[in-house]
Symmetry: C2
Subunit: 339 residues, 2 copies
DNA sequence: GATTGGCACTCCACTCGGGTGAGTGCCAGG
DNA sequence: CCTGGCACTCACCCGAGTGGAGTGCCAATC
């Protein structure tokens, strides 16, 4: 019995601390939450919780603050996702439905997520690896100069400029276009690249033209640089943490600029409906030991193409944030399904 | 004669204040700069400068700080652009030369500029209005569904999904493609849109298919939403202004999220080589009255297609910043020239 | 008339010490 | 096992005191 209450106390501490941002004392606890015991009892429970490492006090004779371990327990055992209100659902839907292309979808999701959670939102673009080729277009800009456009199933468009060693006429170009498309369209990107690599030998007459074009395409397909694309929004929400500027805000602000760091931070996509929470020092960067990351994968048909989530202080509203992240991921996935 | 010295004093005050970030007193001035007069003389000059509104003291018995008016005079009369070092030039060139497409160019420029100036860099994407149409591609995804891709001279690619009321076969599509390209390619975007609007009537047989396609194209061309695209980098440099957080950092951080605000802030593109400096309250937003904006236009052949620049505290290194902004703008313009 | 050294004055920034109060730990009694 | 009581701790607030950078002004000098 006492064990249950101890957990209730921990939950109460987390909730109070998150909303007040101040260490919470035993007296305030019994007043604000209806646990029918006295403050002395709560103090005893607190002593135990502290001994077990779930809470600490910044200094003797101050209230208690949850530790990373405390948040962890809270997230794993004590919290239930706040369901989104009807109004919020409508807002999400209407906000995202207006998107015109992939860029727009990603950007809108990012903004939306940052507004819902009042945190910094991070959305990774769908990775190339799982995309299929939808179409390849070759546009002649000059006789020996053309633009190669690669259109992928996720709606992503890559374009490269190619200088050819020889001039190519419209007929040759259109034949080449046909061949390339026949070889690549519908294939997963890695397979498409392989198929393309085999092409030039078969196209003897236009060999000189085909080779650089194919090279460029293969290059664009295997260019994992673009896997690192990321959108960020809500940095101004960091302004709310005016205190603890140096420990929280500054390193995070720096991390947001380094997309490689960010990618590592939001980590591998977690498949289907599950929301991952990484709390404080659980993450890979010690400078970010007072920030938490809440992420989930998204993509058509629950196949995680990329990750999306928010980054904020460990002292955050986990239930609300997790619910928002999950909700946005679902809507975005649905939109990618349609496209 | 005394007038000249007063200006020298102002210059010295600005330079010292920018580097030390602290109010500068008469004694420190004569020590650090070799103006061959006593501190008492400088005090007299300071009194005059203060009366004329070029400097103030935060409180009696503190050093002096330049006012907006003081910075203005400094920028207009007293400063000469610091030439970029050879190493810096090389760094700029090599950093930007690796860019593969327009997105990449813009992104790299932004990062580069923020690193050079250690400020927040803002780069506007080339506006549509002055672009010409390079190619229009129609890609059939399904019999009655296609992707419209609009490729512009600036390297920008816009894509839209179109649902057709009827199925269209490959022949019809390719004829339509030819017509559209014949009408639009090479034209400035507004003219192209006009030409396209006139098309459907002439294409009686595929009227039902042509109309929505043309509509989409015209829509994409006149979609000034995309004129508002902007890239930002270097927000972490704001961390250096740990003090004056509320007055400087917070409002700026908020402004950076609002691209519309940012666009207004960096203002109209100024043509050819000229760098515009807007100091403190000279700008359109009073919350940003302690930030300055240094911008210039860029684009192929000195035709300002867009604006690029940095935003920072009024207390900034104007000569260095202006030089960096100008240098980056030139390199970017050159790259756009080539593409 | 400009420049200079000297001097009194101002006022911020910092330090120190006592008082206050929230919060704790512990203990004895229910 | 819970509770009321009590002594204790320690961050925080406040006010006084102090040091020092910087100023303004004036009389003397070049």
């Amino acid at each position: 019995m006492q064990n249950d209450r101890r957990l209730a106390v921990l939950r109460a501490i987390v909730e109070d601390y998150v909303s007040t941002e101040e260490p919470v004392g035993s007296k305030a606890l019994v007043e604000r939450h209806g646990l029918g015991v006295s403050s002395a009892t709560v103090r005893n429970d607190m002593a135990v919780l502290e001994e077990e490492g779930y809470i600490t006090q910044p200094h003797t004779s101050a209230g208690r603050v949850p530790t990373d371990k405390g948040y962890r327990l809270f997230v794993d055992k004590l919290s239930t996702l706040k369901p989104m209100s009807q109004a919020e659902r409508r807002a999400i839907a209407s906000f995202l439905d207006g998107a015109v292309d992939l860029d727009d979808v990603v950007q809108r999701s990012t903004r939306l997520l940052s507004q819902l959670t009042r945190q910094v939102a991070v959305v990774q673009y769908p990775i190339l690896a799982r995309s299929t080729v939808r179409h390849v277009e070759l546009v002649a800009l000059a006789p020996s100069r053309l633009l190669v456009v690669l259109i992928l199933s996720t709606g992503r468009v890559e374009q490269r400029l190619v200088e050819l060693p020889v001039a190519v006429d419209e007929d040759a170009l259109s034949e080449l276009r046909n061949r390339v498309n026949r070889a690549a369209v519908g294939q997963v990107i890695a397979d498409a690249a392989a198929a393309l690599r085999a092409l030039p030998e078969q196209v003897v007459p236009h060999d000189k033209a085909a080779a650089p074009i194919v090279d460029t395409l293969v290059d664009a397909m295997s260019d994992h640089r673009s896997d690192e694309r990321i959108a960020v929004a809500g940095a101004s929400n960091l302004a709310r943490y005016g205190d603890s500027f140096d420990t929280s805000v500054r390193p995070l602000l720096e991390a947001l600029e380094e997309h490689v760091v960010l990618l590592k931070l939001i980590g591998e996509a977690t498949s289907g409906g599950l929301v991952t929470v990484r709390i404080g020092a659980e993450g890979p960067y010690e400078e970010l030991s007072s920030t938490s990351v809440v992420t989930t994968g998204y993509g058509p048909g629950d196949e995680a193409l990329a990750t999306l989530g928010v980054v904020g202080p460990t002292r955050m509203d986990y239930p609300g944030t997790m619910a928002a992240v999950r909700a946005v991921a679902r809507y975005v996935s649905r939109i990618l399904d349609e496209a």
